[in-house]
């Protein structure tokens, strides 16, 4: 088993997920099963094979070719951008206190 309960807790912390006790148990089982399947990739010899991060990088369209000119133009207005804020003072997003003093 690659994924122990400790690994589940560590990854949940990295992913900012507060998993419940039963979710942690389920996650341990499911991740082990899926990773066991993913391990079949090791049957393939890939030394010297370049990693492919993007379809475009393989020459269908040169990366960067389609960047637009870097010019100033209007963006979403402040009101619209703040319209979905769960908590705001009208100017900023409000969050729980970050620095204690």
């Amino acid at each position: 088993m690659k994924i122990t309960r400790e690994v589940v807790d560590y990854v949940a912390e990295l992913a900012h997920l507060a998993l419940s006790e039963s979710e942690r148990t389920g996650m341990e089982r499911d991740l082990n099963s899926i990773l066991g399947y993913i391990d079949t990739l090791n049957e393939l010899e890939t030394t010297g094979v370049a990693p492919m991060a993007q379809v475009a990088s393989r020459g269908t369209e040169a990366a960067g070719e389609s960047l637009r000119a870097d010019e100033r133009r209007p963006s979403l207005g402040h009101g619209a951008a703040m319209g979905n804020a769960p908590q705001t003072d009208g100017t900023f997003f409000k969050v729980p206190k970050v620095i204690e003093r």
Binding site: I3, V7, V8, V11, A12, L14, A15, H16, L17, A18, L19, S20, E23, G26, M27, D30, L31, S33, I34, L35, Y37, I38, D39, T40, L41, N42, E43, L44, T46, V49, A50, P51, M52, A53, Q54, V55, A56, R58, T60, E61, E65, S66, L67, R68, L76, A80, A81, G83, N84, A85, P86, Q87, F93, V95, P96, K97, V98
Partner: protein, 481 residues
Amino acid sequence: MIDLKSLTLESARTSVQEREITAAALAEAFYKEIESGDRDIHAFLTLSKERALAQAHGMDLIADRGDPLPPLGGVPVAIKDVMNTQGVRTTAGSRILESYIAPYDATAVARLEAAGAVILGKLNCDEFAMGSSNENSAYGAVRNPRDLERVPGGSSGGSAAAVAAGMAVATLGSDTGGSIRQPAAFCGVVGMMPTYGRVSRYGLIAFASSLDHIGPLTRTVKDAALMLKTIAGKDPMDATSAETPVPDYIAELEEPVRGLKVGIPKEYFAEGLAPEVRAAVEDAIQLLAKAGCEIVPISLPNTKYAIPTYYVVATAEASSNLARFDGVRYGLRANAGEAKTLKEMYKLTREQGFGPEVKRRIMLGTYVLSAGYYDAYYLKAQRVRTLLARDFDSAFQQVDAMVTPATPTTAFKLGEKNDDPLSMYLNDIYTVTADLVGIPGISVPCQRPSDPLPIGVQILGRHFDESTVLRLAHTIEYSRG
């Protein structure tokens, strides 16, 4: 009276143009159909009546004057709820966006509306487009209009079901591992995934950025061609959208297919393929042979590694893309009383806002990107992705297109695959590679008259060669009558 279930983009526009019905009355007729029919199916999450009727009214003014309507003038369509629609709730099938009102339109949505389409509303889907049965929606499953005990497929389940049930003439879906083609096959409609970069993703709520595609679900191949023509092309708001010119797909549909070399990859007809699906797909291949295509057996040797590659690449990208849902700028925020620190607020918000499959994929993606595992999983999968692309490069030296089943089986029953994520993932075995490689694909109905459920045949083509894909699909559709 107009039969909503048989309308095409062209016939709907013509009825409005010729004043057989007003665009407003046509939209109202669809809303009435949705009100009754969608109680069982649950394809719609939100109706955008005000916006739809304003657009319909504008189209009616044009038609009343006797001026020609734009290409989709007055045609009722609907949008998968992963695309932003200004002023209309956009949930991505997730609790975390339950009350999110999009402040701008996705480019694909804006282009449909600019072409005169009337946007009826937003369609149910698996949460953040993660799923193959639509059972992962936080708002409840969608049922297959062809058999209410069965799933419509996913993640664009609502998009396929709405077209199949006559609740929209055409819809938009998104495809990251098969999410347009698989539900199209399960519901008996046409579903097209264009080449990576063909359609702007601006305003699409990102799942896996190197794999996400927007495309149409329609009743006919010609409708898919017209929808694609409308939404395709360079968009300054999406740097990954391609400059490659958009051809006239409709005009090219009628060009003969005689002499085209069509590859049949043997790996797509191996163990696990249901006999009735095999038989129906072989019928479709015969239709192409009769139309003068040369049928060529080919091999894509790395096919079996596509799903494991996908579940590394897609989840890694998802874990990064979904980091933005933290309760600060939009969406759900966990009760301030419970969370004393900022980090606690993030964690509780995400715990409450995300469903089980989304959490599973975020966890897997975070793990494969984490220190010590990045090379073994993420980099390894990216290298295998190159091998998969090479399979297609060399196959396309021999053939112009490929024909395969779209799915290994017909639509399964609700609840049938819920307990085992892995068996659910295997549903995408024939669709997922095209997403990884970035080539276009379509699913077209091909079941025999005696088959109780729809079956889809998939056609895959070269990068930016949607025309050949559509032409072959059109030939199959036409030959079946």
